[in-house]
């Protein structure tokens, strides 16, 4: 076991990394990432068709981490983040980011009642206007006379996503963000938050990080990271710049955040982390951030060269 005395690295795995863990999570109806993975398939089929490579790479990562003295927290929960951020310098969080896109399953009991009370909320009024614009009379939609219940839900979900995508909810954002421009990922995130608030619990909230115990709001992640933690947070999750920007907003210069604007694919992402640990073994004086950055850059260049060559 090599001595990583310069940086104490911890990897928190919010995703299942073995077949057993996958099956255990698959029976949980609330597993958001699982809902996407399973999508009508059996757990066995989803594992075989999609998830097995993730576990294969994860096994390599676990072996590598063990030999390097790097802590790996499997089935990581929020309280693990809390305790590990007290004792480590680098937190690598591998988890699912539930983004701003509204899905049919997000409509919970009482959503139609919220829409009937539109006069109270300008965001809901905007939503009903959008439904009306797209499908005719809002009343007819809300009382279901334009189609069956499934059809109705689809229309509402489509209208919500349209509002988010097109920035039509931006005028309802708080004054604090007035006068500044921001990336469209942030705008869409805030738009989804507006809808979530307007539905008062009748819409499953978006913009949350899914750890093994539950989905967690950005504030919960911020609170869980120990206030005295001044290290690196590697957000290995999809569109991590949303959570990253939030953390930077609250923590400022005290945090170094590794983030990106794109979706990620778990297996290669775990492989990248595994190889980062390997490089740290070969270059013991290097920092985690530098090792991962140089590998990511090298991969990017390799891709560009490959494109050119082809």
């Amino acid at each position: 076991m090599s001595d990583r005395s310069r940086e104490r690295i911890a990897i928190l795995l919010g995703l299942p990394v073995t077949r057993a863990e996958f099956y255990e999570r698959a029976v949980d109806q609330q597993w958001d990432y699982g809902r996407k993975l399973l999508s009508g398939r059996s757990a066995a089929k989803a594992f075989e068709q999609v998830y097995e490579p993730v576990c294969t790479v994860a096994a390599d990562l676990l072996r590598r981490a063990e030999s390097e003295g790097v802590l790996v927290c499997r089935s990581a929960r929020l309280q693990d983040l809390q305790s590990i951020s007290r004792t480590h310098d680098v937190l690598v969080i591998v988890a699912h980011w539930r983004n701003f896109v509204v899905e049919d399953a997000d409509l919970l009991e009482g959503w139609s009642v919220c829409l009937e009370q539109v006069t109270e909320d300008p965001v809901l009024r905007c939503l009903v206007d959008e439904i009306t614009r797209r499908s005719g009379a809002a009343h007819a939609i809300l009382n279901g006379s334009l189609g069956n219940a499934r059809n109705l839900r689809e229309r509402v979900v489509t209208a919500m996503n349209h509002l988010i995508e097109t920035g039509k909810l931006v005028p309802f954002l708080p004054a604090a963000i007035g006068g500044v421009t921001t990336h469209n990922l942030i705008t869409k995130t805030l738009s989804r938050d507006l809808l979530d608030d307007a539905f008062r619990g009748a819409l499953r909230r978006g913009n949350q990080l899914e750890l093994a115990d539950d989905l967690h709001a950005v504030a919960a992640i911020h609170i869980a990271i120990n206030p005295s933690f001044h290290g690196v947070v590697d957000l290995s999750c999809c569109t991590s710049s949303v959570l990253g920007t939030y953390l930077k907003l609250l923590r400022g210069d005290t945090l170094q955040v590794v983030m990106g604007d794109h979706l990620i694919v778990p297996a290669p992402q775990l492989r990248l982390i595994e190889r980062t640990l390997e490089l740290l073994m070969l270059q013991p004086s290097a920092r985690y951030v530098d090792a991962k950055t140089v590998l990511a850059e090298g991969l990017g260049e390799w891709r560009r060269n490959r494109l050119t060559a082809s």
């Binding site: 490579p53 708080p174 604090a176 007035g178 006068g179 500044v180 421009t181 921001t182 990336h183 942030i186 805030l190 938050d193 507006l194 979530d196 608030d197 909230r205 913009n207 950005v218 710049s241 949303v242 990253g244 930077k248 907003l249 210069d253 170094q256 590794v258 983030m259 990106g260 604007d261 794109h262 979706l263 297996a267 290669p268 992402q269 492989r271 990248l272 190889r275 490089l279 070969l282 270059q283 290097a286 920092r287 951030v289 530098d290 090792a291 950055t293 140089v294 590998l295 990511a296 850059e297 090298g298 991969l299 990017g300 260049e301 390799w302 891709r303 560009r304 060269n305 494109l307 050119t308």
Partner: protein, 454 residues
């Protein structure tokens, strides 16, 4: 006629028997399943009973359970005891359960004029009351049973108001934080434009508070914009004109390197997406495709405003020079370009075709570098050229043999293990990653000049 009816009846009876048989089989299966589950539950119950009954210290067990349950986070405001410890007073090895007769009453709508009443329906009480009071069944049922006089109803109030709680529960969302902020994110001040004007640059970027930055484009006309988040800042840098002189204030050198590298890379991606660079690469390949120089390699470097986007590697100095001269003669749009260099030894570029800024309309391509590797082919690799050409972001160098080997191994492994459609998606994402570390020097507002090609 009668026979036909009889046959039909018999057929019906036969079908009913079949259905009954199927239902019976299904019931049997369900019973089997339930029996198995019961068996498992019994085993668990036995285990628990034995552990609990023979535990030395039941208080310790209770304390442990309470400790474990109290550690569980709860959003509710009323915390009721959730553990009941049952003990035997008789000498028995089992402990009974606690039966609570809590069969809820039925609520039925009655006449609007009639007073609420409680009736027995089977073994369940039924409360009959007017439609508009259906939501008050508990209160009305109690009053009917206790025969207490009706108290005037108070107007309904929200639960939060009754309990004196905040109007809405905390969501912990990004939006909530912004709503609660007392200060706006915008960080511009009156002297910003004056500071920008002193800089002798095209674009002035000054770090503000709360992950914001002020970007001043000195135009004409001059324009200031406040941006929030590093993603947006990179977007703005990508929008900057090629060869723009950018000045950063209040950022660390490391941070500027990361931001500009991201911008450069995204610029390249944008060009790539438009097909511009691919066409240019194709043209360059065509130029060097000759009998004299069949082994020339044409590579794409990260697009950097004002710098080479394409590099051609040639093993033959004379041939390369000849091809460059031909190229310039053949391409009317490139007449104003000139070949520079050519005498250096081992320090690329040996030749560089430089296009004047106002030369060829519609292209951002500033130059093509031609590196003649000759006998040094194994030394001058694409990775090395790129590493020299661009900003160094990390403390490690791709040219380091250990790092280069690690990159190669990783790339090969990914190509081998990852599904074809996933790898391009992943690589594009990896390519967009960045590290953000902000060290502000707000006291001095010191200007740190860092060009794109530092």
């Amino acid at each position: 006629m009668r026979d036909t009816t009889l046959v039909a009846e018999l057929t019906n009876i036969g079908q009913e028997l079949k259905d009954a048989d199927a239902a019976l089989k299904k019931a049997e299966e369900t019973l089997d399943q339930l029996a198995k589950e019961r068996e498992t539950a019994d085993r668990v119950a036995d285990d628990l009973r034995i552990r609990a009954s023979f535990a030395d210290d039941l208080d310790r067990v209770l304390a442990s359970v309470l400790q474990a349950t109290s550690a569980t986070a709860s959003d509710s405001f009323i915390q009721t005891p959730s553990v009941v410890l049952s003990c035997n007073t008789a000498d028995q090895t089992s402990v009974g359960g606690h039966n609570i007769d809590a069969l809820p009453w039925l609520v039925k709508q009655g006449s609007a004029r009639a007073a609420p009443v409680v009736r027995a329906t089977g073994d369940r009480p039924t409360v009959v009351m007017p439609k508009e009071r259906l939501g008050q069944s508990t209160e009305l049922a109690r009053r009917v049973v206790e025969r207490s006089p009706e108290t005037p109803l108070l107007p309904e109030r929200p639960v939060s108001e009754v309990l004196g709680l905040p109007a809405e529960r905390k969501s912990g969302s990004f939006l909530e934080h912004l709503r609660n902020r007392t200060e706006p994110l915008s960080s511009g001040d009156a002297t910003l434009m004056a500071r920008a004007n002193e800089c002798n640059c095209d674009l002035y970027v000054e770090r503000g508070t709360a992950d914001t930055a002020m970007i001043v484009s000195l135009g004409p006309p001059p324009r200031a914009e406040s941006v929030f988040g590093s993603s947006r800042l990179v977007e703005k840098l990508v929008e900057a004109k090629p060869a723009a002189r950018v000045l950063f204030a209040g950022f660390s050198r490391e941070q500027v390197s990361a931001l500009t590298y991201d911008a450069v890379r995204q610029t390249g991606e944008a060009r790539h997406a438009s097909g511009f660079l691919e066409k240019a690469i194709g043209r360059t390949k065509d130029l060097f495709r000759s009998a004299v120089d069949p082994v020339v390699s044409v590579l794409r470097l990260p697009m950097r405003p004002g710098k080479s986007a394409i590099v051609a590697l040639s093993p033959d100095t004379v041939a390369a020079r000849g091809r460059l001269a031909e190229m310039l003669a053949q391409r009317p749009g490139w007449r104003n370009a000139k070949v520079v260099g050519g005498s250096g030894e081992g320090s690329p570029p040996l030749f560089e075709v430089v296009f004047p800024k106002d030369g060829r309309k519609g292209t951002d391509l500033q130059s093509i570098s031609v590196h003649v590797y000759g006998e040094k082919r194994d030394v001058v690799t694409a990775a090395e050229l790129s590493a020299r050409a661009k900003t160094t972001v990390s403390g490690l160098f791709k040219t380091d043999p250990v790092v280069a080997e690690a990159i190669n191994r990783l790339a090969e492994q990914l190509e081998r293990d990852t599904r074809v459609k996933e790898i391009e998606f992943f690589l594009r994402g990896v390519d967009s990653g960045r590290t953000v570390q902000l060290r502000r020097n707000r006291d001095t507002h010191a200007l740190e000049e860092v060009a794109f090609d530092e």
